[in-house]
Amino acid sequence: MSDYSVSKTLDYKGLKCPMPIVKISQEMPKLKVGDVVEVLTTDPGSLSDFPAWAKSSGNEVLETKQETGLIRIFVRRKK
């Protein structure tokens, strides 16, 4: 089970590449280190883009949940 609490949910539904990672990168400085946000997206590219973005920017994707027509990605600010 998840051992973190979500501090904020970000609605990125309908946004296309590269906007989801642009938005999340702009959101990071607003969070405290350790904070977890939930991202809602409809862009299937986000499934591989968020882990790639996290690796490059030094953050962490904790979990990815796929539902019909919706993807939930849980991201932790690490630095």
């Binding site: 946004l15 296309k16 590449c17 590269p18 642009v22 990168s25 702009q26 973005w53 490059s56 920017s57």
Partner: protein
């Protein structure tokens, strides 16, 4: 003996830090004047900036016309420069698809599809790039050849004019270099 090993490690560390391409940075040449390639360059540039990379776009040859501001007019051009001015696209919104332009139909169609599918327009992507600190360098010689003046270019916060050495200096320290 132990001291020597430590010294050696320090020397290697110093070399690693100075090696070319060590920086998390993207240097891209935007050579093409086609709409599709401008879209690609902007998506890659904004994506890279979002990933925490420093980004420099070097606009040269046909690429430079996309930086023209259609609202700005400058005088003092000779006949050939005026002709180039008329024939080159007046800004990014006048660029065409490299394929399937079909006298404007294809280009209009792709713009309509992009809007429908909520893909950011070229104009919006330039705004995002500016927000993310993407740097633009315009090739001085290209502007000169085509009779384009600095004063007719768009207002962009991080834009300068430079030559080949400017690009190469940026590229040499970049981990990613692209030519579009």
């Amino acid at each position: 003996m132990a001291l020597d090993v430590e010294k050696e490690i320090e020397a290697i560390k110093a070399q690693l830090e100075e090696r070319p391409g060590a920086k998390k940075k993207l240097s891209m040449i935007v050579f093409s004047g086609d709409l599709d390639k401008h879209i690609a360059s902007m998506i890659i540039a904004t994506g890279a900036a979002a990933m925490g990379m420093e980004v420099v776009l070097f606009y040269t040859f046909w690429g430079t016309a996309a930086l023209r501001d259609p609202a700005k007019k400058v005088g003092g051009k000779n006949l050939i420069e005026k002709m180039f001015g008329v024939m080159l696209p007046r800004g990014r919104d006048k660029t065409k698809l490299s394929n399937m332009h079909m006298a404007g139909m294809g280009t209009a169609m792709i713009k309509a599809i992009m809007k429908k599918k909520n893909v950011a327009s070229l104009g919006e992507m330039f705004e995002i790039a500016a927000q993310l600190g993407v740097k633009i360098v315009i090739c001085e010689m290209s502007m000169d050849l085509m009779g384009l003046k600095r004063e007719e270019m768009i207002d962009y916060p991080n834009m300068s004019v430079g030559g080949v050495a400017t690009f190469l200096a940026e590229a040499a320290e970049s981990s990613v270099q692209l030519f579009l």
